[in-house]
């Protein structure tokens, strides 16, 4: 029969498990094991295992929703580094993304941009394949049916607007994903700002490398405004790998930026 003491402890550990439901099972289990040991040690130090003593221990521990996600996050990042565990690195990125609506939005936006690039390449490859049968055409319109001049005037403005929105989302993302205990609000703001810059810089480098890789491999050629030629054979060349690496960097910029951000020391981030 479960005692009242066990019930209170299980309720608390149940809340802890729910707060950790997005992290990998091994990290969640280890976090729970450590908190369970803390509770037992605290009860033993009080010399009494009563419900009153347990409630006092849990009150002093604080709400699991407040501290458990940060514990698990650092453990996953740590394992990702120490063991070169891709599973933990991806897990911590997924956790970050799902922990904040803005984070999820950023990953979604980057994911959509990524999907667009992939779709463009796929469309290009399909077009090249069609050329093999009917070798009349030599390119495809990125936005077929859209006149060039409106696209060239409205397009850059839309791009600037989209960049602004993206910057805002990334700002929200890093602001909410910032770790606890950095050493004051000023330092936390500086950390968020630095991490935002890192993400944007990585994304920009990724885009430039993607374009450079594609152009150097002669897999992508801009033949005229809004007209891109994609050569499927060239996209399989070693030089094209540089482009793929850039694409990966672009897509993973929010993740890498945040992981690098966690390595920034307080005194380096602060003013």
């Amino acid at each position: 029969m479960t005692s009242e003491l066990d019930r209170v402890r299980d309720d608390y550990l149940g809340r802890l498990r729910r707060a950790l439901h997005r992290v990998t099972p091994d990290v969640a289990a280890e976090t729970e094991q450590e908190i369970r040991a803390h509770i037992e040690d605290a009860l033993a130090a009080r010399g009494q295992a009563t419900v009153g003593a347990l409630l006092d221990v849990l009150e002093r521990l604080g709400s699991p929703e407040d501290y458990a996600p940060d514990v698990a996050l650092y453990m996953m990042v740590d394992r990702g580094y120490r063991e070169w565990s891709l599973r933990h690195m991806i897990g911590s990125a997924r956790f970050w993304a799902l922990s904040t609506a803005a984070g999820a939005a950023v990953v979604l936006i980057f994911g959509l941009l990524y999907a667009f690039v992939l779709a463009a390449i796929a469309a290009g490859i399909q077009h090249v394949a069609a050329d093999l049968v009917h070798p009349a055409g030599d390119g495809f319109h990125v936005l077929p049916g859209v006149a060039t001049w409106p696209l060239l005037t409205v397009g850059p403005a839309a791009l600037v607007g989209l960049t602004g929105i993206l910057r805002w989302f990334i700002g929200q993302y890093v602001q909410r994903a910032r770790p606890m205990g950095l050493g004051g609000e000023t330092t936390e703001r500086a950390w968020a700002s630095q991490t935002q810059r890192t993400i944007l810089t990585l994304a920009l480098i990724g885009l430039v490398v993607t374009m450079a890789g594609g152009l150097l491999a002669q897999g992508i050629r801009f033949e005229q405004a809004c007209r891109v030629h994609v050569d499927a054979a060239a996209l399989r060349s070693p030089m094209a790998l540089v482009g793929y690496a850039g694409l990966a960097l672009f897509f993973l910029a929010p993740v890498i930026g945040l992981i690098l951000g966690l390595r920034v020391r307080d005194d380096e981030a602060g003013p």
Partner: protein, 112 residues
């Protein structure tokens, strides 16, 4: 939370890491043990659970190591110990802290 409490929270957060490193410099310890050592300074740790994100952050920075060991009573404990990098960090920050504290004391006393 009053303005005084906010001031205290700011000061606490900035110095907690240094205190944890200093405690671990005396030997390896587990989570509750560290909290107990900190409890000597009145109100240093408001919520004990917040010590664990800090310990894991120090670990992810390579300043401390952690290892599970059996406990003479109850479940296994996770022991934390300073790494060489942690010792070097503590040494550097401790010296700076002393200079910083002396400067603050001088300003508060009105000597500066």
């Amino acid at each position: 939370m009053t303005d005084d409490d906010k001031w205290m929270a700011q000061m606490r957060r900035g110095s907690l890491e240094l205190c944890v490193l200093a405690i671990l410099a005396r030997g390896r310890r587990y989570g509750y043990d560290i909290v107990q050592a900190l409890s000597g300074a009145d109100g240093f740790v408001i919520k004990e659970g917040t010590i664990y994100p800090l310990l894991n952050r120090l670990r992810s920075e390579g300043l401390v190591d952690a290892e599970w060991q059996p406990s003479p009573q109850g479940p296994d404990r996770k022991y934390y110990a300073l790494t060489r990098q942690g010792e070097a960090r503590l040494s550097a920050v401790r010296d700076q802290w002393r200079i910083f504290a002396d400067d603050i004391a001088r300003i508060l006393e009105g000597d500066a």
